[in-house]
């Protein structure tokens, strides 16, 4: 025990937890990158590549879609990131501390658990030429008796993809901003700015944003990396000829001729370069904006007129983002039980469970696999995260530097290293099964579990532990009998977040499972090419329901266990 540091038991073999975690996060990423880079330069003996050669890169350069695809990838990625960030900041700046703010936050937070694919399908059902929006105004306003021949989904400019990314990323950035605001002295700073005569929005951008930005930077970079390299949403909403680079890599990976693995590897490596370069550009841009921003703050303009435009805009856009997702989900549900539903009609002529009954056997099988993978991955991730946090606690001092590695799997794009892992497995003769997929899921589940649990874990009142230790409890008994029960609610919430992340994983399941592991997500995304809306509705609703079930359990269990403990109320 260290003097003055209070009660701190020794770590024992808990020191292994952080080491194991870092190895688990960094290992697959590095191995995967190696598995991409080697074949990208022609070295893959199992497939006859004896390299080194630039042939894969030449093949990539000769693909006629390369430049349009790159333009599309960069355009959609940056547009989605900047719009999401703009909407989030405008909304928080204009409305923090008001009732409308609390209402929209309550509306947006649960949307975080909606898988990207389900949200994308919902949006597609809304904005399609035969979707709900067109039906609502037809034929009264438009005169359309049949759906217009417009490409609103899969449009060549990627607008539908941008919209889909924005409605999913705004809730994420909003929650990250809220977490950061709690740590900065944001409310009093904003108040001081207002007493000096500043408008709400201008004052917030000048005094609060610079202080929350350091905590917001990594989430924003993760959003940028994700938006540039997203696969499932791009398959559902994105353009097809050419598709984004990430989708094209997947197409090459899935080509029956294994020789295409080489150009796929070059494409994946290019994807990594594109993301790395984009993060660098964003970082430079950020410095430029910060410099201009400081000059703007010191010029003294009160920006009160800005509020008139910016506040309604911020609230409107945030509410629109929430509304689009919610309406889309409602659309999915209606389609899943729809009978005959002709075009301009807003509501189907009959409702029935026929589609559900026909899909039931497949749903049960895929649902069971999804739940199994998710539960095991979450169990492993929660155990490791608690091990890391407890080890950090027992060692004392500030959080470890190495913890930025948590963000590694969120920033290195999946499509840049998962193909490499698959190739390695192929070379080593490993059969991708449910176990391999589960292991891959842990890599992506763990960071979110960590982010969700770290703050409540660190905020725990240590005096309870000291009292228990003074009564003779050892460190493990304190952990099991005092700390974990007291933190049951955040632990279960973090587990539910992790479960939602696992359910939504598309690329790891597809690539590591070698196409043979069917989950709700892989099945739902596979339906994107077909057009049976009722079937898509059924699978997307199931895909969305499973994570929600997880959150319900995370809410219900503590409420039941602590029903008679007012001190444990939420």
């Amino acid at each position: 025990m260290r003097r003055g540091a209070g009660w701190r038991p020794r770590s024992g073999w808990l020191v292994l937890a952080p080491v194991l975690t870092v190895a688990l996060l960094a290992g697959p990423v590095l191995a995967g990158l190696a598995g991409v880079l080697l074949p990208a330069f022609g070295w893959l003996p199992a497939l006859g590549g004896e390299g080194p050669t630039l042939a894969p890169w030449r093949a990539l350069a000769e693909w006629p879609g390369l430049w349009p695809s790159l333009r599309l990838t960069l355009g959609t990625g940056f547009a989605a990131t900047l719009i999401s960030l703009g909407v989030t900041l405008l909304f928080v700046a204009g409305w923090q501390g008001t009732r409308s703010f609390a209402a929209v936050v309550r509306l947006l937070s649960p949307l975080l658990s909606v898988p990207h694919a389900a949200a994308a399908f919902g949006l597609a059902f809304l904005i399609a030429p035969s979707g709900w929006i067109a039906r609502a105004v037809s034929p009264a306003l438009t005169g359309w008796e049949r759906p217009p021949d417009w490409l609103t989904v899969n449009d060549p400019a990627g607008l539908a993809l941008i919209l889909g990314l924005v409605v999913k990323e705004v809730p994420f950035l909003l929650l990250m901003t809220l977490a950061a605001l709690g740590q900065a002295d944001s409310r009093r700073s904003a108040l001081v700015a207002q007493t000096l005569g500043y408008g709400r929005v201008a004052g917030w951008f000048k005094v609060v944003l610079p202080r929350v930005w350091p905590q917001l930077r990594l989430p924003v970079l993760a959003v940028l990396a994700y938006s540039l390299s997203v696969v499932d949403m791009a398959l559902i909403l994105g353009p097809t000829r050419p598709p984004t680079l990430a989708v094209q890599v997947l197409v090459w990976m899935g080509h029956p001729d294994l020789a295409f693995r080489f150009v796929a590897a070059a494409g994946a490596a290019l994807m990594g370069l594109v993301v790395a370069g984009s993060l660098g550009v964003f970082w430079l841009g950020e410095r430029g904006v910060a410099r201009l921003g400081r000059a703007w703050a010191e010029a003294g303009g009160r920006g009160r007129g800005l509020d008139v435009v910016a506040r309604p805009l911020g609230l409107g856009l945030a509410a629109l983002a929430a509304g689009l997702v919610l309406a889309g989900l409602a659309g999915l549900m209606v389609w899943s039980v729809a009978g005959l539903w002709r075009f301009p009609e807003v509501w189907p002529q009959g409702l029935g469970l026929g589609t559900w009954a026909r899909a039931a056997p497949g749903l049960w099988a895929a649902g069971a696999t999804t739940a199994l993978i998710g539960l095991v991955a979450v169990l492993v991730a929660v155990a490791l995260v608690i091990g890391c946090l407890e080890a950090e606690d027992r060692a004392g001092g500030p959080p470890r530097r190495a913890l930025w590695l948590i963000w590694l799997p969120l920033i290195v794009p999946q499509v840049a290293f998962l193909p490499g892992l698959q190739t390695l497995a192929l070379v080593l003769g490993l059969d991708g099964g449910v176990a391999a997929v589960t292991a891959a899921h842990v890599v992506f589940v763990l960071p979110y579990v960590f982010l969700a649990l770290a703050d409540p874990w660190r905020a725990w009142d240590r005096r309870a532990g000291m009292v228990a230790a003074a009564l003779g409890a050892g460190p493990w008994r304190v952990l099991w009998a005092v700390r974990l029960p007291m933190l049951l609610r955040p632990v279960l919430t973090a587990a539910a977040v992790g479960f939602a992340v696992s359910v939504a994983q598309y690329l790891p399941t597809l690539l590591i499972g070698g196409g043979r592991v069917s989950t709700l997500t892989t099945e739902a995304v596979a339906l994107a090419a077909g057009a049976n809306r009722r079937v898509i509705g059924v699978w997307a609703v199931a895909q969305m329901a499973l994570p929600m079930l997880g959150f319900l359990i995370a809410l219900a269990v503590p409420a039941l266990v602590f029903a008679r403990r007012r001190g444990m109320a939420a």
């Binding site: 700015a193 005569g197 005094v207 202080r211 400081r294 703050a297 003294g300």
Partner: protein
């Protein structure tokens, strides 16, 4: 039209309890002290004059500033400056940047104005300093100059000396009261410290309007 800050039959209650009941005029250059123990409604009064009273409080009466009825105005439009217990300097701006932030945009000789303000505060040449490297007394002085540079029409002081040590207090009190008198604005100070109230030298009331002798 009457110059100064006027609390016109101001009455603030929460639940059944009346926290503030004041009918008061503070002339330009005058200092009025509201004294009482914590929880007695002092902060409620400041929040009401500032315009960010939390929901749940019921307020009657009106607040006038230089003949303007500011009761319904938002914080930013009131031109009421405040100095909180903590200085709340913006940590991402330099000392000069904090002052520039307060200076109205129409002022053109910004650097000169900031230099003058810092001289007056005994902090000449501190423009480029990081606020985090300043002592408590220095920070409080920068915060006061920041408040005054925004050209408020009234000044509120929220226990501005409570975080300073005894030696610094007397010095800061006279510094602050001199600056406020120079600015010629009505000053409303809340405190629980009899010494502060004495040093202010003006009327002393409790939040329910009873005059106190100090």
């Amino acid at each position: 039209m009457s110059a100064g800050l006027r609390l016109d039959h101001l009455r603030i209650a929460r639940g059944g309890a009346v926290l503030v009941a004041l009918d008061l005029h503070v002339a330009p250059g005058e200092v009025v002290t509201i004294m009482g123990p914590s929880g007695s409604g002092k902060s409620t009064l400041l929040a009401a004059v500032l315009g960010h009273l939390a929901p749940g409080f019921r307020m009657e009466g009106r607040v006038w500033l230089d003949g303007r009825d500011i009761t319904a105005l938002p914080v930013r439009a009131r031109r009421v400056g405040i100095l909180f217990q903590d200085d709340i300097l913006f940590p991402h701006l330099s000392v000069g940047g904090n002052l520039a932030f307060a200076l109205p945009a129409r002022v053109h000789d910004r650097q000169a104005r900031i230099a003058t303000a810092l001289e007056a505060a005994g902090l000449g040449g501190f423009e480029g300093r990081d606020p985090a490297t300043l002592s408590g007394g220095q920070r409080t002085r920068v915060a006061l100059m920041r408040t005054l540079l925004a050209e408020p029409q009234a000044l509120l002081l929220d226990e501005p000396f409570s975080r300073l040590d005894a030696a610094m207090r007397a010095q800061m009190r006279s510094f602050m009261l001199t600056r406020a008198a120079e600015a010629g604005v009505p000053v409303l100070m809340v405190t629980h410290d009899v010494e502060d109230a004495r040093a202010a030298g003006g009327r002393v009331l409790d939040p329910l309007g009873t005059p106190l002798r100090v």
